[in-house]
Amino acid sequence: MLHKPAIESGIDNAAKRKARLGVWFFFIYLFFYGGFVAIGVLNYELLATQVTLGVNLAVFYGMGLILFAVLLGILYNFLCSRYEDEMNEGEAKS
């Protein structure tokens, strides 16, 4: 009993496509996250630059990374659900 998953998944034809999308989205986010770290280490003074609304680049970029994660997540869910609908017609939805 302990070796069974909580719920068995059906066949998912969209799995490969979703995995590829996930990897792409991961690298897109990594680019911006890595950019923040790189600016901090290589060009620290740039973080002090005033950007907008009276806040510096550090605050703007940090909050931006949080917001971007949420937006990317929503887009990912939307695309994955569409792939599943398109590719799993006639299959038990997983």
């Binding site: 302990l2 979703k18 002090a48 009276g54 994660a69 949420v70």
Partner: protein, 640 residues
């Protein structure tokens, strides 16, 4: 800090613990089989699961630790918010769906699902245990800190209290109860943080942050008479001694039989003595707070601004501010933080907390804790990169987070849960910046522990808000600790005893073994919680993330994405990740200080190990897999 008991807080506290335990017992009646004990039978609604995910994740580290670190180290604390949330991206985009398809109860099962390997079973179970224990330490430290102002009890009592309550919860019910408890708590934490932020913005900034029933201390400033660089006299105070601690001068003055410490500073040719707080050892081991015994309660909360600039002009207060106005005003002004200096005076230990004026533009940039600007050492820069790497990669590799993937019906639900969690957690992390900054400038900080910043800030705005927030934070810790203890007990009872040592248990005995393991881990966690008193809990969580990222993530990623990965590669990687990250942590400057040694003599200067241990673990899985290609069948990609 010296606190009295708060009866309103006590009522709410008892009420909350009662609700939590009541829910546990209620769901215990519905829980009988091993499947429902470990993973709630896969019957949790995705929205409940999503908020419970957030509840799991918004642990003591987030609410107590991040706010505390922002309050003491400014933007460096916010780095944890950014990194903790970014970690969800790795979890969602790379791990969530494939892991759900491998769907087992524990991290070990998931790794082991494509080939039966005793080495993986053993190493992954040990990894789960070590990561869970490192994640448990900050929760227990937070529990102790929380109970001090809540109930006026010592730190260790809080740690023991949480330990006992959690052992009762876990032993009586299991995952079902914790999912609903986490759901309620996650939701409440978001609502209360929003209310607190509204209070902060409405209150604005004030040079003298007095609050109803809690007037802020008026700090003394004296002009001494000097002979060269030595204080000769200071008004009607008697000069007792002067100490040079790493280039900073501290002077002990006495008046009316009470000795106080001051920081000596020089601007142009004028010298000033600024009042500091002190905790000193007296005769017979008695502790003195600001020169008086603890019972006389002469200690006070701190944190204020020394300059507020609005439209280029200095003002004494601002009135209500918008969110961005609040941030930009602090950036243009000057914040007074309280730094610690430790030394001995006449053979007695002294801790002095002195005023450190910090320009707002420095406070709102990284660098006060993790120095990365001009003049920063290579170690310091590496430490910053290492921290950001660990936060980014650690989330997906936490055992108690992974378990929750299995509590919903389908991949689609698991994904929706995760996105709801990201949105909820993201909103909360934005609020941490305001709560942390609010605590820094509203005269609420406890110099002995930064962890209580947010609850103490709530106390300044009203005891009811404080009591509700404290109760929720306490429930936060209860929920997180119970989730971690379930993961640990699963690793011991299911992975080690059942799978590795092949002890033949029936279903009843499996559950009983899990509960006994939970008891053992709980007792161990209590001991560690007491030992690590006083440390910032976010910093401690950073270590758990580093170990998880190094020990678990390379193994998971290679299993999912590299067809030639072998069982040997995975077990090599886990062992390398654990050993290297633990070795670096246990020899770090912070641990040196814990051992009672001088932190500056530590064998290296790295506080966060991931920058070394993560690549090493990747190298190990790659080399281990290549070296064992002939003996092991290559793993089929689960998503291929």
């Amino acid at each position: 800090m010296i606190y009295g008991i708060s009866y309103i807080a006590l009522i709410f506290f008892v009420l909350f613990v009662g609700v939590v335990l009541g829910l546990s017992f209620y769901f215990a009646r519905k829980t009988s089989s091993a499947s429902s004990y470990y993973a709630a039978g896969g019957q949790i609604h995705w929205a409940v699961n999503g908020i419970a995910f957030a509840g799991d994740y918004l642990s003591a580290a987030s609410f107590l630790g991040i706010c505390g670190m922002i309050a003491t180290a400014g933007y460096d604390g916010f780095l944890y918010s950014i990194g903790f949330l970014a970690g969800w991206i790795v979890a969602l985009f790379l791990i969530a769906e494939p892991m759900k398809r491998l769907g087992k109860y524990t991290f070990t099962d998931a790794l082991n699902s494509t080939f039966k390997s005793r080495a993986i079973t053993l190493t992954a179970a040990i990894s789960t245990l070590i990561v869970s224990i490192f994640y448990l330490i900050p929760q227990m430290v937070g529990a102790g800190d929380l109970v001090t102002p809540l109930l006026g009890l010592p730190h260790w009592v809080g740690v023991v209290l949480v330990g006992i309550v959690v052992i009762v919860i876990v032993a009586s019910a299991g995952m079902t109860s914790t999912t609903y408890v986490q759901f309620i708590k996650g939701g409440l934490l978001l609502i209360l943080s929003t209310i607190l932020t509204v209070y902060i913005l409405k209150n604005g900034l004030n040079l003298q942050p007095d609050h109803t029933g809690q007037p802020y201390h008026r700090f003394m400033s004296l002009s001494p008479t000097m002979s060269d660089t030595t204080v000769v006299s200071a008004g009607d105070w008697k000069v007792v001694s002067q100490q040079d601690v790493k280039g900073k001068d501290f002077v002990k003055l006495e008046k009316d039989g009470v000795a106080r410490w001051f920081r000596l500073s020089q601007k142009d040719s004028a010298y000033t003595l600024a009042e500091a707080l002190s905790i000193s050892e007296g005769e017979n081991g008695q502790t003195f707070y600001n020169g008086k015994p603890k019972a006389q309660a002469k200690f006070f909360q701190v944190g204020h601004m020394s300059k507020i600039i609005v439209d280029g002009k200095e003002v004494s207060k601002t009135g209500a501010l918008g969110p961005f106005e609040y941030l930009s005003t602090i950036e243009k002004s000057e914040v007074v933080r309280f730094s610690e200096a430790k030394f001995t005076d006449n053979g007695k230990k002294v801790s002095v907390y002195y005023q450190a004026k910090t320009p707002g533009k420095d406070f709102m940039l990284p660098g006060l804790k993790y120095k990365i600007g001009k003049g920063a050492s290579i170690w310091s820069r590496l430490d910053f990169i290492s921290l950001m790497l660990a936060l980014f990669l650690g989330t997906a590799a936490l055992p108690h987070i992974l378990i929750r993937y299995y509590t919903v019906k389908s991949q689609r639900d698991a994904r929706k849960s995760t996105i709801l969690a990201i949105a909820a957690i993201g909103a909360f992390y934005v609020l941490t910046l305001f709560m942390g900054l609010g605590a820094a400038v509203n005269g609420v900080m406890d110099v002995e522990s930064s962890n209580m910043a947010a609850p103490l800030l709530a106390k300044a705005f009203g005891v009811v808000l404080f009591s509700i927030i404290s109760a929720v934070a306490f429930a936060t810790i209860l929920g997180t600790v119970s989730g971690l203890i379930i993961a640990s007990s699963g690793a011991i009872a299911h992975d080690l005893m059942d799978n590795y040592f092949k002890v033949n248990f029936n279903d009843d005995k499996k559950v009983r073994a899990g509960k006994m393991a939970a008891f053992g881990v709980g007792i161990f966690a209590i001991a560690l919680g007491i030992l690590f008193k006083g440390m910032n809990v976010s910093f401690l969580v950073g270590w758990a993330f580093s170990i998880a990222a190094s020990a678990n993530l390379p193994a998971i990623l290679f299993l999912l994405f590299w067809k030639r990965t072998t069982a040997k590669g995975i077990s090599w990687s886990i062992v390398t990740g654990i050993v290297s990250s633990l070795a670096i942590i246990l020899t770090s400057p912070t641990m040196w200080d814990r051992y009672g040694l001088d932190a500056s003599t530590a064998i290296h200067k790295l506080e966060n190990p991931a920058i070394i241990s993560f690549p090493l673990a990747i190298l190990a899985v790659w080399l281990g897999s290549l070296a064992s290609q002939d003996k092991n069948a290559a793993v089929q990609r689960t998503e291929a």
